[in-house]
């Protein structure tokens, strides 16, 4: 299976974890991050969100992040799935699943991948609220999260 998928349709978290962990008894830990859409942002109710991306660059940027994680930690598999197009509250947006022999590396690598994805992968969110449409602004806290991993 491809390590990276960009898709409009929903994904099956359990099936992705299962595909990653089965058949490899050396795996002792699987850590999964699931990002889902919230109904409130910046104090306003959000009814729909539309995710745009840069086809081609998105896959390259995510592959570079996955390659970096595999260089930093001893891992036994990574899957990254990110949805694009229209989404609604409670919809899963992004999944990062990491397998390793022990939990420490899986936890760290999973957090590293989502932190880097937030600041380096070319996705943009547009929200629909009662007041109309607006593009979501980048967060300084995401830049700070990425800086923790720099070396």
């Amino acid at each position: 299976m491809n390590q990276i998928k960009i898709q409009t349709e929903p994904f099956d978290l359990a099936a992705i974890q299962e595909e990653l962990r089965r058949d490899n008894p050396a795996i002792g830990a699987v850590v999964t991050f699931l990002g889902q859409m919230r109904d409130i942002n910046e104090g306003d109710r959000v009814s729909t969100m539309t995710l745009e991306h840069y086809p081609g660059m998105t896959e390259k940027a995510l592959q570079a992040i996955v390659d970096e994680a595999e260089a930093r930690w001893q891992l036994m598999g990574i899957r990254v799935v990110h949805r694009v197009g229209p989404l609604h509250p409670l919809d899963p947006i992004v999944l990062v699943t990491v397998a390793s022999a022990h939990r420490g590396e899986a936890f760290q690598a999973c957090e590293f991948v989502i932190d880097y994805l937030k600041t380096r992968a070319p996705f943009w969110k547009k929200e629909q609220t009662a007041e109309g449409e607006r593009w979501v602004d980048a967060r300084h806290s995401d830049d700070a999260a990425e800086r923790r991993w720099q070396r």
Binding site: Y54, H82, L117, P122, F123
Partner: protein, 84 residues
């Protein structure tokens, strides 16, 4: 030929997602292309104003104003990313 791409807030403001420029020796850096776009005035001047944060990728790799552009390259402009 240089392929220019615009995404998200930029694409909407500029009312176009892509265009092509004939390659010329004086368009050999990202900075030179930005100057040319800025000189169109109006919304182009606003989008590429010095106080706006615009990210740029050449051939799908993040880069900066000093990056060299050659004939056939793909140059994309977009706002800070907000995925995840």
């Amino acid at each position: 030929m240089i392929n220019l791409l615009y995404f998200a807030r930029l694409r909407e403001a500029l009312q176009t997602g892509s265009e092509t420029l004939d390659y010329r020796a004086d368009l050999a850096t990202v900075a030179a292309i930005v100057d040319l776009l800025k000189a169109r005035g109006g919304v182009w001047g606003e989008v590429f104003a010095d106080d706006q944060t615009v990210l740029v990728a050449v051939n799908q790799e993040m880069c900066d104003l000093s990056t060299v552009v050659t004939d056939g390259d793909e140059v994309a402009f977009f706002p800070p990313v907000t995925g995840g």
